[in-house]
C-alpha cells in the first residue's frame, strides 16, 4: 500500500512539475505576479511529495519487501541495514529517484532563499527547474519505474554486488548527485538571464554560491568514489580514466572553470556571456554523464544495466535541454553587454587563461571518452582509450595551470605590472627548485617526479607567500594576526583550495614515482621486505560474516622503533550472489600506505599468492582533495555569499 502511495505521489509530482513550468512562464509572459508566485508553492509541494515517494521506496528496502521487483533484484534480507538503505540508490531506478529528490530539494531551497529576489527572475528559474523535474519524473515513470510489483513475490532477494557493499560507496552517489544536480540551479539561472536579456550583479552574486555548493559536493563525491576504488578494487590504483569516472570528472572541470569565471563576472562585471556558456556546458556535461552511464554506448566496469530505449530517452533530454539552451545562447548572448575592458596581463587575464585551460581539459577528456564512438562511426573498428592517452594529454595541460595558479592571485585587477611581482615569483621559483633538487638528490627519481614535486612546492610556497602579502608585510605580529583575522572567509577559502591542489599534486607524484609493487607466492612463516618494513605471513583462518564466508590471512608488520601491527586481508565468498571478492588490508598513515591483497590458494600446498603495494604519500591525494572541498565550504560561508543575500529594493519588484 505504501509503495502504491509512493508511486501515486510521483505521478502527482509530474503534474505539479508541469504546472511549475507552465504557470510562472505564462505569468512572466503576461506580467502577472499572481501567476509567477505560484512557483514557490509548487516547488515546496513537489519536494514534499518526492520526499514521501523516496521514503516509501526506502521503507520497502528496510523491511525487505520482496514483492517489489526492484527490492527483490537488488536487496537481500541478510544485508546489513546501512547497505539495505544505500541499496535504494545502488541501481538505475532508485538512483534516478534520488536524482529527482535532490533536484526538487534544490528547487525548494531556491524558492525559500530567493524570497527577496526579483520575482520575475526566481519564477523563471523555478519554471526551468520544473521542466527538468517533469522530464526526469516522466523518464522514471515511463521507462524505469522503481515501484513495479512482482506478480509472484520472491521469498529471498538476489543480493547485490558485494563489491558495492562499502561505506564509502554507499554515501558516494548522494554527494555526486548533489553536485551534478546543483549544476542545474546555475543552468536554470543562466536560462532565466538569457530570457530576461540581462546579467547584473544580483544574478552573479546568486550564481556564485550555487556554483560553489555544486562544486564542493562534486569534489567530495569524486573523492569518495576514487577512495572506494582504491580500497576495494584491489589494484592499488585510485583513478582509472574509466568512462564512468570521466563522466563525473568532466562536469567537475567545467564547474571549476565556471567557479573562476564567475569571480571575474562578479568583481569586474565582464566575461558574462562566457560564464553563462560555462554554466550551460557544466550541466550539459552532467546530463551527458548520465547518458553515457545508462545508455550502454560505452562499456565501463561500473556502468548500470544499460538499455537502448533508456539511452534514447536521455539523448532526447540532452538534445532538448542542451540544444535548446545553446540555441537560446546563440540568439541572445550578443545582447548581454559586457562591462569593463582589461589588459592581457591582469588578474582577469590570468583567470581567462585558467578558463581556457580547464575548458580545453574538459574537452580532451570528452574527446578521449567518446573517441571509441567516433572511430567506430568513421572506420568501423573498435578501440579503447586508456590511461596512457589521458595522462599524455591531461598532465601537460595542468602544468601551466598550476604554474599560473601560484602567482596569479598576486596580480592586480584590470592592469598588472609584471615588474611588481617578478621579484616574488623568482624568489618562490628558486626556493621551490632548491627544495625539489635536494629531495631528488637524496631519494633519486625521474624527470617527471622532479617536475611534479616542483609544481607542488611552487604552488604551496606561492600560495603562502600570496597570503602573507594579502594580509600585509612589515607589520607587527599582533597587527598581522588582527588583519589576518579580518580577512574574508573567501580569501581563506581560495588559499586553502589552492594548497589542496598542491598537496594533491605532491601526493600523485610521490605515490606513483616511488611506488613499490611485489607479487609473489608466500608460505606460512615467510616474509616480504620493503624498504625498512618487514611483512610476515602468519597463516590463514576461516571466518564467517553476516552474508559471506572468508579466508582471512594474518600478517605481522615489523618496523624499527614502532610497535608491531597486524594486517588481515580477506578473500570473501558471498553465497547469495556466488561472487568472490578480495578485501585488501591497508596499513595507512600520513607518509605511506601498505596495501596487502591475499590471492588464491595455489592448489597444491600451503602457499598463497600475495600482492603488496607500498605507496608513499598516497593519502595526500585525498587529503588534498578534502582541502579543496573545505576551501569551497569556507568560501560559501563568506558573508557576502550568503544565499539569502538581499537586494535593497521592494521585494516584489519586477525586473525592468
Amino acid at each position: 500500500m505504501i509503495i502504491e502511495l509512493g508511486h501515486y505521489c510521483l505521478a502527482l509530482v509530474l503534474t505539479i512539475s508541469l504546472f511549475q513550468f507552465l504557470v510562472p512562464a505564462l505569468g512572466v509572459r503576461y506580467n502577472s505576479i499572481g501567476l509567477m508566485s505560484t512557483s514557490y508553492i509548487t516547488a515546496y509541494l513537489s519536494f514534499i511529495l518526492v520526499c514521501f515517494s523516496f521514503a516509501s521506496l526506502t521503507y520497502a528496502y528496510v523491511i525487505s519487501d520482496f514483492s517489489v521487483s526492484l527490492v527483490a533484484n537488488n536487496s537481500h534480507s541478510l544485508k546489513p541495514m546501512i547497505y539495505k538503505i544505500s541499496g535504494v540508490w545502488g541501481n538505475h531506478e532508485g538512483s534516478l529517484l534520488l536524482w529527482v529528490l535532490i533536484l526538487t530539494f534544490y528547487s525548494a531551497a531556491v524558492a525559500f532563499l530567493g524570497k527577496r529576489l526579483p520575482v520575475k527572475l526566481i519564477s523563471l528559474v523555478l519554471s526551468c527547474q520544473g521542466l527538468i523535474a517533469a522530464s526526469f519524473v516522466s523518464f522514471i515513470l515511463f521507462t524505469s519505474n522503481p515501484f513495479t510489483r512482482l506478480f509472484f513475490p520472491e521469498i529471498e532477494g538476489e543480493g547485490f554486488n558485494p563489491i558495492l557493499q562499502d561505506f564509502g560507496l554507499a554515501i558516494h552517489p548522494p554527494f555526486l548527485y548533489l553536485g551534478y544536480v546543483g549544476l542545474s540551479v546555475t543552468f536554470s539561472f543562466s536560462i532565466a538571464a538569457l530570457l530576461i536579456g540581462r546579467v547584473d550583479t544580483i544574478w552573479v552574486k546568486w550564481v556564485r554560491p550555487w556554483t560553489l555548493i555544486a562544486w564542493v559536493f562534486l569534489t567530495i563525491g569524486i573523492a569518495l568514489g576514487s577512495w572506494w576504488a582504491y580500497r576495494e578494487l584491489g589494484w592499488g590504483g585510485w583513478w582509472f580514466w574509466d568512462p564512468v569516472e570521466n563522466a563525473s570528472f568532466m562536469p567537475w572541470l567545467a564547474a571549476t572553470a565556471l567557479l573562476h569565471s564567475s569571480i571575474v563576472a562578479e568583481k569586474r562585471d565582464t566575461l558574462k556571456a562566457w560564464t553563462i556558456l560555462l554554466a550551460i556546458i557544466a550541466f550539459s556535461l552532467s546530463l551527458l554523464g548520465t547518458f553515457i552511464v545508462r545508455s550502454g554506448v560505452l562499456i565501463s566496469v561500473h556502468a548500470f544495466a544499460s538499455d537502448p530505449s533508456r539511452g534514447l530517452y536521455i539523448l532526447m533530454l540532452l538534445i532538448f535541454f542542451t540544444g535548446g539552451a545553446l540555441a537560446l545562447f546563440a540568439r541572445k548572448a550578443a545582447s548581454l553587454k559586457s562591462g569593463s575592458l582589461f589588459q592581457p596581463v591582469s588578474r582577469e587575464g590570468a583567470l581567462v587563461i585558467n578558463n581556457i585551460i580547464f575548458a580545453s581539459s574538459a574537452a580532451t577528456v570528452l574527446l578521449g571518452t567518446l573517441y571509441p564512438i567516433f572511430i567506430d562511426a568513421i572506420n568501423n573498428s573498435k578501440v579503447s582509450v586508456g590511461p596512457p592517452y589521458f595522462e599524455a594529454v591531461f598532465i601537460p595541460l595542468m602544468v601551466p595551470a598550476i604554474l599560473l595558479c601560484a602567482f596569479s592571485p598576486m596580480l592586480s585587477w584590470k592592469r598588472a605590472k609584471l615588474e611588481n611581482i617578478l621579484e616574488r615569483v623568482i624568489a618562490v621559483f628558486i626556493l621551490a627548485i632548491m627544495i625539489t633538487a635536494i629531495f631528488i638528490f637524496i631519494y633519486g627519481g625521474s624527470i617527471s617526479a622532479f617536475l611534479g614535486l616542483f609544481l607542488g612546492l611552487w604552488l604551496i610556497l606561492g600560495t603562502i607567500y600570496e597570503f602573507f602579502i594579502k594580509v600585509g608585510i612589515k607589520l607587527s605580529f599582533t597587527k598581522f594576526l588582527l588583519r589576518a583575522f579580518q580577512l574574508p572567509r573567501s580569501a581563506y577559502g581560495m588559499s586553502l583550495a589552492h594548497l589542496g591542489v598542491a598537496i594533491f599534486v605532491i601526493g600523485v607524484t610521490v605515490s606513483s614515482a616511488w611506488r613499490i609493487d611485489i607479487e609473489k607466492p608466500i608460505q606460512n612463516g615467510e616474509s616480504v621486505v620493503i624498504n625498512d618494513i618487514e611483512l610476515i605471513f602468519l597463516g590463514i583462518i576461516d571466518v564467517n560474516g553476516p552474508n559471506w564466508i572468508a579466508e582471512r590471512g594474518k600478517f605481522e608488520v615489523i618496523r624499527r622503533g614502532k610497535n608491531n601491527e597486524y594486517l588481515f586481508p580477506e578473500r570473501r565468498f558471498y553465497p547469495a550472489s556466488k561472487v568472490n571478492t578480495s578485501e585488501p588490508a591497508i596499513m595507512s598513515n600520513a607518509f605511506f600506505d601498505l596495501y596487502v591483497v591475499l590471492g588464491e590458494n595455489l592448489n597444491n600446498d600451503e602457499s598463497y599468492s600475495l600482492r603488496v603495494y607500498y605507496s608513499p604519500f598516497i593519502n595526500w591525494i585525498w587529503f588534498g582533495i578534502m582541502c579543496m572541498a573545505l576551501g569551497g565550504i569556507l568560501a560559501v560561508t563568506d558573508r557576502k555569499h550568503r544565499l539569502g543575500y538581499s537586494v535593497k529594493k521592494n521585494p516584489k519588484a519586477i525586473y525592468k
Binding site: 556571456a273 556558456l277 550551460i280 556546458i281 550539459s284 547518458f291 545508455s295 550502454g296 554506448v297 560505452l298 562499456i299 537502448p308 539511452g311 534514447l312 539523448l315 540532452l318 538534445i319 542542451t322 540544444g323 545553446l326 540555441a327 545562447f329 546563440a330 548572448a333 550578443a334 567518446l370 571509441p372 564512438i373 567516433f374 567506430d376 562511426a377 573498435k382 579503447s384 550472489s577 556466488k578 561472487v579 568472490n580 588464491e600 595455489l602 592448489n603
Partner: protein
Amino acid sequence: MRKIYLYLPLIFFFILVIFFARQLILDENPSKLPSVLIDKSFPPIKLNQLSSYKLFNAKNLLSSGDPSLVNIWSSWCAPCQIEHEFLMKMSLEHNVKIFGINYKDDNKDAIEVLKLNGNPFYAIGTDEDGTQVINLGLYGVPETFIIDANGNIRYKHIGPILEYDMNNIILPILNKIKRE
C-alpha cells in the same frame, strides 16, 4: 549584427548528437570486443586430466573435421551454471562437439556439476592454476570460442551463452563455417 561564432557551441553539440544517435540506433553491444585471436590457430595448451573424462588436447580438437566449440567454465561461476543447459542442448540436439576447459576449479566440484547437470563435453581438461588459458586472453568465465575444422579461432563469445545467443549467434556461425 549577428555574431556567427555564438552558434559554434550549438553546431559542435549537434555533431556530437549525430554520433550518439548512430551508436544508439545501431544498437551494437560495445562489449563484443573482437578477440585478437580471430582467424589465428588455437594456441597450444596443456591441460590436466579430469578423473576418467576424455582429455582435451590439440589432437582431438582437429580430429572431427567439423567446427567445434571450446568452452571455459568453473563450478563456482554462477553464469556458467545457467549456460550449462544450453551447452547440453547444443551437444544433444544439434550434435555440436564441445570441448571444455575447467578453469581454476576443484576437481571434486567440477565432477559433481557434470554428474548433476549432465556432461555436454566431448572432451575436457582442467587448468587449476589458470596459467594455460592466459594464451586465450581470458576475460572472465564463461567464455566460448568457435573453432573451425582447421583449428582456427573464428569467434569469441564473452559471457554465458543463453537461448538467444545459441539460436542467433552460435548456431548460425557454426552452420556458416560448415557450408564453407
